[in-house]
Symmetry: C2
Subunit: 249 residues, 2 copies
Amino acid sequence: MDPGQHRAVCLVSGGMDSAVTLAEARAAGFETYALSFDYGQRMEIELEAARRVATGLGAREHRVVHLDLAALGGSALTEPPAGANKTSSLEVPKDRDVAAIGAGVPATYVPARNTVFLAVALGWAETLGARDLFIGVNAVDYSGYPDCRPAFLESFENLARFATAAGTERGESFHVHAPLMERTKADIVRRAAELGVDLGVTHTCYDPVHTPRGVLACGRCDACKLRLKGFAEVGETDPVPYQTTNTTP
Amino acid sequence: MDPGQHRAVCLVSGGMDSAVTLAEARAAGFETYALSFDYGQRMEIELEAARRVATGLGAREHRVVHLDLAALGGSALTEPPAGANKTSSLEVPKDRDVAAIGAGVPATYVPARNTVFLAVALGWAETLGARDLFIGVNAVDYSGYPDCRPAFLESFENLARFATAAGTERGESFHVHAPLMERTKADIVRRAAELGVDLGVTHTCYDPVHTPRGVLACGRCDACKLRLKGFAEVGETDPVPYQTTNTTP
């Protein structure tokens, strides 16, 4: 680490937003520590993408914390997929109009997920002596999750002062950076190019399809539709392979 | 569930304080949902105690969430014990004077642990439709952890409003109950008797000793010394077996 360089813990899901967020942390001069969660996602593919992102963007370390949120139920992202042993009552929404995404909390909402992720990031930050956390949440082209808004992040910064030895004993404060908060998906696609982020290694789809040609993004879930909208607005083609990219209903 | 009975998520470590806290939740009329964590503790014995406590006190459900905080390092409670493959630089403090416990953050502090635990409890609460969380933290005979204080719990309640669909969409608030916050260990021993809590099934020791006679509490770590002080003040004998109960240095 350069003398004077500060450490930052960056939440990395393996998606486009977290990849650009990690790149923003590096561009801001931080030594980055990437943190991912194995929380009973439907697919290991997200973690593989997170590993590629962390390595590709020069994270000093990448840790994967196993956290069995599936044990608590309540989300289509942690329920077994339809066709598995158990029938899921919570299906990943498909073919929703992009304008409708964000109106109301969808079935893919994992209760308190970002709270849990930031809490663990805070713990690691305290161990590392880091005072900066980065999270790739976005309040513009977002999916309607309550824990992706500025008021949530401010209340977490407030909590961090009382939750840590650094805050209570030494009066230090933690900063939760959300550099994509006000960016559109198109902005994020452009910013990825500026920062040299290879979006081809990222994974966004909530419901990917395994085929003999490899894994394909579905092109129909909320996450795919928002991502495709971003590329379409910039006039670029997403390097990630899709089953379908027909975004009209 | 009785009509009108509310659900509460209760953090249950298996120790004396969380057992009495669970009993307080039941006595207050809640249907209780016990939540424990397998977070890389040195001993499985804590989880066994948590299971006995949850069953004995009539929890409607008991879930154990695997959370690999040991991956982040930084605490004597999640470091491998001395004598294991790797030498731990963080030893459980022993034979400290009770008056000195609480002055400063000890090596057994797991960074942001209660923040993480409450965040997961919040997620389960949202799934269950519960708005009440119970945690057995204590600011009187406590171990110096920053996340055991009223200001921490208030900042968490504030966070919960912004972190959840219940809070942001329906304006509902969550209440973090800490019924033992102002109680001494002696109060807690007395309250256990009043509520019918069998303290013999609980486990408190940070560094228990496995013997042919079974597991013995060390009697020398901060947690044992505070617990023994509580029993001594009430003039009772702790039903849990100890290696030593000589609390004078």
